[in-house]
């Protein structure tokens, strides 16, 4: 992991002190509401439906045990609404009604919780109940473990993401993390780019497979080697979700690694000057790239040339800086296994018992297949802890679970965990001999469900239970789907599928990229949902990044679980066996037969009353 220098440490401390200064001026009335708003947003503080929301930056998803424990402390000590606020919020949310679990009489309503952190699709961590008066204290606490909320919101360069298997993937071209860290520092408090037309998101992928959804980003960077063997980036600009889902256009096939900051500076400067500011819905860079087309690329090329020739290419990454940062991302030293075992025969015996128990349990085998991923070091594995389970919102981790995850990372993964954009945690440095013990420990914590990549591994934003932007709730739907597909045999039979839920068109649940996407829309003040089919985030499973296609008019909240059920039922009828004896996946079937039969199934799940009305 990256280790903060004394400069880095002082920088986040200064940032926390600056935020306290701003908060105090706001509370004293010398900073008006609209003046304070962009300042708190650029530290990650939103004001939501019932309380502030804090979004804490987790650069490229990496967390240390010390950081996880401070997040646990914040969840435990600060993420606490007072009783009256919670009761009022719960009453208002309950009044929104409930959704049925198909095939049962169970109804799922809102169940507001507190005392937890939430992993987001952009690998950040959010808290929902911290009073604004305590916000400066929280930032100081975070700074004590090299964390912050710098530019996790606002119209600035946001947290830079990379794929969760960076540095360990078997198909890696180069490790994206040194570049993500160098770019993070370059973007932090950049004086020119703090008030862009709109938010600005960058993702870097270093593997052959795109696991960072780079097509969907304002700037998506793919590490590549050119014919001469030099390392560089293919640069895509202008991807984005929202009202107008667009996949980024390739503006350069190759920018040498040491020039990437200069090139990104050119891309963003042209955007800052020419991006639309008259309409927030048309202000993202994707609209500029789409309307200007090749003219945008020419402008960037000319600006890049001038940065190099006239400005002296100031942000050319030096070999020394790359080496300094890259040295912190080398694999950790792991204890030699044989020696350790020989040292303590009693421990070795216990390990053998745990192993025998695990291997006798079919759940362990399933867990190995779904939650354990190959590693570049053949002795090691990456293990996904599933934060998708009954009764807890996707990506939510209680204070105790955050502490427990820290313990697991400490015991089994060299003190490191990573937030995935699918809202789970990866332990990247697990020895294969430790898998039975890790499984047993994770299972006790409820974090070992073998559902990674399956239907109940639902991606969802907090939605209308918390977010003031949301048109509709995400969480009751996620819970209804999770309850409906609790039978692990059935879930395994359905196989790989991406289900994504966003409570509004801001698309925090990445619904456009879901094989099944669910989007909350507002009609007559009631909750309705648009369903899309066939979207892709860009992985090998899903194919080139693309938005899903909309299935007819929107559905009422109560209809949605049955719609999902019907679409899945159609897949199981239409799928064919693949050569390897397994069934073709949902997305492969959809691509082969087209959207129509799925559309018909979805529409058949509409309530009759609505057709009459």
């Amino acid at each position: 992991m990256y280790q903060y220098s004394e400069f880095d440490r002082q920088f986040v401390r200064n940032r926390a002190a600056q935020y306290r200064d701003q908060l105090e001026r706001y509370l004293a009335g010398t900073l008006a509401d609209d003046e304070f708003r962009p300042l708190r947003l650029q530290n990650g503080w939103y004001i939501q439906r019932y309380a502030p929301m804090a979004r804490i930056s987790v650069p490229y998803g990496e967390l240390s045990t010390a950081q996880l424990r401070v997040l646990a402390k914040i969840a435990r000590d600060y993420d606490k609404p007072d009783a009256a606020l919670l009761a009022d919020a719960q009453a208002k949310q309950s009044a929104l009604g409930s959704v049925p679990v198909p095939g049962t009489h169970t109804q799922i309503g809102s169940q507001l919780k507190y005392g937890y952190g939430h992993f987001t699709t952009r690998t950040n961590v959010q808290f929902n109940w911290i009073p604004l008066e305590k916000s400066a204290e929280v930032m100081e606490l975070l700074a004590s473990v090299d964390m912050h909320g710098i530019q996790t919101s606002g119209n600035a360069i946001r947290n830079i993401t990379a794929e969760a298997l960076a540095g360990i993937a078997v198909d890696e071209i180069a490790d994206p993390r040194p570049f993500a860290e160098i770019m993070r520092q370059w973007g932090a408090l950049h004086p020119e780019f703090a008030f862009l037309p709109r938010k600005f998101k960058i993702a870097i992928n270093g593997a052959k497979e795109d696991r960072a959804a780079i097509g969907w980003y304002d700037i998506g960077l793919q590490l590549v080697r050119n014919d001469a063997g030099e390392l560089g980036f293919r640069v895509q600009v202008g991807g984005g979700m929202g009202r107008t889902p667009i996949i980024g256009a390739v503006v350069s096939e190759f920018v040498r690694w040491d020039q990437i900051l200069n090139y990104v500076e050119a891309c963003i400067r042209v955007y800052n000057q020419y991006g639309r500011r008259d309409n927030a819905w048309k202000a993202r860079i994707k609209i500029l790239v789409k309307s200007e087309g090749h003219a945008y690329i020419e402008k960037v090329e000319e600006e890049f040339r001038q940065i190099i020739e006239l400005d002296g290419a100031p942000h050319t990454i030096t070999q020394a800086e790359y080496d300094r940062v890259a040295a912190m991302f080398v694999p950790p030293q792991l204890a030699a296994r044989e020696q350790e075992r020989n040292r303590d025969p009693a421990q070795a015996q216990i390990r053998e018992i745990i192993r025998a128990d695990a291997e006798a349990d079919p759940h362990y085998d399933r867990w190995l297949q779904r939650n354990v991923l190959p590693h570049r070091n053949p002795e090691l594995r990456a293990v996904v802890l599933s934060f998708k389970r009954l009764g807890q919102a996707p990506g939510d981790a209680t204070a105790d679970q955050l502490d427990a995850a820290a313990d697991l990372a400490e015991r089994f993964s060299a003190g490191e965990a990573r937030v995935t954009h699918e809202q789970n945690l990866v332990l990247p440095w697990v020895h294969q001999d430790d898998l039975p013990q890790l499984w047993a420990a994770a299972r006790k914590l409820g974090l070992a469900r073998a559902n990674i990549g399956l239907l109940t591994d639902v991606i969802a934003c907090p939605g209308g239970d918390f977010c003031s932007l949301a048109n509709a709730r995400s969480l009751p739907l996620a819970e209804a789907i999770t309850q409906r597909f609790q039978d692990l045999d059935e879930e395994w039979d359905i196989g790989d599928i991406d289900v994504n839920i966003s409570g509004c068109i801001n698309s925090c649940g990445h619904h456009h990229a879901g094989h099944i996407g669910i989007l909350g829309v507002d009609k007559d003040g009631k909750e309705w949902y648009q369903v899309t089919l066939g979207g892709s985030d860009g992985t090998n499973l899903s194919g080139p990044a693309a938005p899903g296609k909309i299935v007819g008019p929107s559905f009422s909240a109560a209809e949605v679980p049955a719609v999902i059920d019907a679409v899945i039922g159609t897949y199981r009828q239409l799928r064919e066996g693949a050569a390897d004896g397994r069934f073709e996946t949902f997305i492969a079937t959809l691509r082969r037969v087209g959207i129509e039969p799925f559309k018909a199934a979805a529409n058949s799940a509409r309530f009759a009353e609505k057709e009459v009305a």
Binding site: N14, N155, I182, L189, A194, Q273, D311, E321
Partner: protein
């Protein structure tokens, strides 16, 4: 960092002459305008959240090496002054009712930043090397 930005009140600003002053609109490309016979360039912030003038100042100062005064006018608030200085502004007209003492504190807080800017020719990593 050391404050070099001249923070002006609206009254002081208005009392100064308008000779050899160029007002540059936000949508004008600062690379294309003649700067001979100009002592001061005024760049406007229609709203403090409209950041186009940051890029304009940057280009005028760093790329065109303009040595005269670059002044921020319009919706100029306390918490953007440091960024203005770093982008090449040499003076700023602080909006009526804002306390310049609050602004001075912001300059003192950070000794240095990561990026190169118009005063620092090199980014931190190259300065430290």
């Amino acid at each position: 960092m050391r404050q070099t930005l001249d923070i002006l009140s609206p009254a002081t600003h208005q009392a100064q002459g308008a000779e050899r002053v160029l007002h540059l609109a936000n949508d004008v490309d600062p690379l294309s305008i003649p700067l001979d016979d100009v002592d001061r360039i005024e760049l406007d912030f229609p709203k403090f959240t409209d950041g186009r003038a940051f890029s304009q100042a940057w280009l005028i100062r760093r790329r065109r090496k303009f040595a005269g005064d670059i002044r921020a006018t319009g919706d100029v608030l306390t918490d953007q002054l440091v960024a203005m200085q770093r982008c090449g502004f040499s003076s700023a007209v602080l909006r009526e009712g804002k306390d310049p003492a609050d602004a001075r504190r912001q300059f003192e807080r950070f000794a240095a930043y990561y990026q190169a800017d118009t005063a620092e020719p090199l980014p931190l990593f190259a300065r430290q090397a």
